[in-house]
């Protein structure tokens, strides 16, 4: 069973062993509107927590996607570049952006679980 956590910047991270998939939440894609372009990092790049790691662009906004935790990029979602609309169709499923080998699992402790995130969205 994967562990799921959320950031205040609307990223989700789904941890399975040492590997974690990162994407943007369903709520975030709704706010962005039609996604038209996605830029993913290079495999092998080491990122720190909160480092800008990918870019998502809709017609009206370009946003950085920050790494929820530190780690090394081990895989990227090649489908997204060809089909950015996938972010709108299945943000929290097929449209993950990149996978990290998590460096320090304790960083996950500062993130929200789903209930807390949903509460956060309602409040903001």
């Amino acid at each position: 069973m994967a562990l799921e956590r959320f950031t205040e910047d609307h990223e989700y991270i789904r941890v399975d062993g040492d590997i974690a998939a990162v994407g943007i939440t369903h709520h975030a894609q709704e706010q962005l509107g039609d996604v038209v372009f996605v830029e993913v990092p290079e495999v092998g790049r080491t990122v720190k927590q909160k480092e800008a790691t990918a870019v998502v662009e809709s017609v009206k906004a370009a946003s950085e996607i920050y790494a929820p935790v530190s780690g090394v990029v081990v895989e990227i979602n090649a489908d997204l570049a060809a089909n950015p609309a996938l972010v709108n169709e299945d943000a929290e499923g097929k449209a993950w952006f990149f996978k990290l080998r998590v460096a320090d699992k304790s960083e996950l402790d500062g993130l929200m679980d789903r209930a807390a995130y949903e509460e956060f969205v309602k409040r903001s």
């Binding site: 372009f37 662009e57 809709s58 017609v59 009206k60 906004a61 370009a62």
Partner: protein, 447 residues
């Protein structure tokens, strides 16, 4: 006042409707003592006739280019512009519209920009072009910044044939933006070894084609050398008509072309407004500055155009924008595209041939004058001569005789040795046999 439709009675009624006694009540937020009662040092309103009279008096103190045998180029060229161009750009719907942010009622401007982008891409031999920049020099500056973004390097290498003003613009941007520039010495004959100066930190090599001195050199070896070191080639063109005859930079491996489009459709205007052309490869399009028009469909499935990829721009990305540029040069781009459409391929090619033939004729005639040497081996419509005198004095003396003989290099390279006897001379389709004869005669007298 003929431009202000409100009458005194209207103003009173409007103040009453707003609920304030007098206009200055609306300026209440102005700190005490800072609201002025009048502007004592400026004259009062004038009628059209008086304004015209006053400005015509000023204008009469200049010698228009069209009134003399005229051979000045160096980044701005006097060409004949068809009457239809100036008429069309003064159509209210083009002249008095804003940036096409509401595409449904801006299809005119948007389609024009789409056509302009296509023409510029074709002319430069590149894949995509933007909807224009301020002018050639700022386009050149932006090209360097774009190369820095793409290569993640911070050093530009400027060829010695780059227009000195362009070089100065790049150096200014680099100095205050925190990157570095290596500028090579003036290179009138185009013989410098640029490739040897490219290193692992070089983001781009900037080469003007034809050069400031008029020289034409093959860009291919420079592009290959740049690419071998992971750098880009930025080709700068200040005389767009040259591309009607010359192999385009895109065919020689240029990654970005930054050009001045004034030559086509636009007058001299003492330096502006002009129109910067900016073209690149498709893979770099998201790093390109400036506006872009793109094709799409409307709700009824009809073809239409919108500004697109605007997330690169400052109004959305703010401090993460690719550039701080907001305005482009829409009306000058319109003049460019109309003139280009009137010329067409056949007209442009013929115009280019006339320019080249006129330049060759002038060069041959000047070469026969005692004390004159043509130093440019291959050129289009502009070349450099060395005179057996101070170039600035020579040009001033020619001007006294009513001939505008070119630009002394020392005006743009003050204090630099080795260029004090060089003059950059341009010939276009406006020059007649009589103009050339007058130049030769005056030069013989001056030297």
């Amino acid at each position: 006042m003929r431009y202000l439709p409100l009458e005194p009675a209207d103003r009173q009624a409007m103040l009453a409707s707003i609920g304030v006694p007098e206009i200055d009540a609306l300026f209440d937020a102005v700190p005490p003592g800072k609201l002025m009662k009048e502007l004592p040092n400026l004259p009062r309103a004038k009628g059209e006739l008086e304004v015209e009279r006053e400005l015509m008096r000023l204008a009469a103190r200049s010698v228009p280019a069209g009134s003399a045998p005229f051979f000045i180029g160096a980044g701005a060229y006097r060409h004949h512009v068809p009457a239809a161009v100036d008429h069309l750009i003064q159509r209210s719907e083009f002249l008095t519209s804003y940036t096409p942010y509401q595409p449904e009622i801006s299809q005119g401007t948007l389609q024009v920009l789409f056509e302009f982008q296509t023409q510029v891409a074709m002319l430069t031999g590149m894949e995509v072009a933007n909807a224009s920049m301020y002018d050639g020099s700022t386009a050149c500056g932006e090209a360097v910044l774009m190369a820095h973004r793409i290569t993640r390097r911070r050093k530009a290498l400027l060829a010695g044939g780059l227009h000195p003003h362009y070089r100065s613009v790049v150096e200014t941007l680099a100095h205050w933006g925190g990157s570095s520039v290596v500028s090579l010495e003036p290179d009138p004959a185009g013989t410098e070894d640029i490739a040897a100066r490219i290193d692992a930190d070089t983001s781009c090599v900037v080469v003007q084609y034809p050069s400031f001195y008029g020289t034409i050199r093959d860009l291919k070896p420079i592009a290959d050398a740049a690419h071998a070191k992971g750098a880009l080639l930025v080709a700068v063109v200040t005389e767009a008509v040259a591309l009607g005859m010359l192999k385009p930079p895109g065919e020689m491996g240029a990654d970005i072309v930054a050009a001045e489009g004034q030559s086509i459709g636009n007058g001299l205007n003492f330096g502006g407004p002009y129109v910067g052309l900016f073209a690149t490869r498709e893979k770099f399009v998201r790093q390109m500055p400036g506006r872009l028009a793109g094709e799409t469909l409307d709700a009824e499935g009809r073809r239409g155009y919108v500004l697109t990829l605007s997330t690169r721009e400052q109004h959305i990305r703010r401090e993460k924008a690719t550039s701080n540029i907001c305005t482009n040069s829409g009306l000058c781009a319109l003049a460019f595209t109309i003139h280009m459409t009137l010329l067409g391929e056949a007209g442009l090619r013929r115009l280019a041939r006339i320019n080249h033939v006129n330049a060759m004729a002038l060069a041959d005639q000047l070469a026969k004058v005692r004390g004159v040497e043509v130093v440019t081996p291959a050129y289009f419509n502009e070349f450099t001569i060395r005179v057996a005198a101070d170039a600035q004095n020579t040009i001033d003396a020619l001007a006294k005789k009513g001939v505008m003989g070119g630009v002394p290099v020392s005006r743009l390279e003050p204090g630099r040795s080795g260029v004090r006897d060089l003059i950059v001379v341009a010939a276009t389709e406006i020059n007649t046999d009589e103009d050339r004869a007058a130049y030769v005669e005056a030069l013989q007298e001056v030297l």
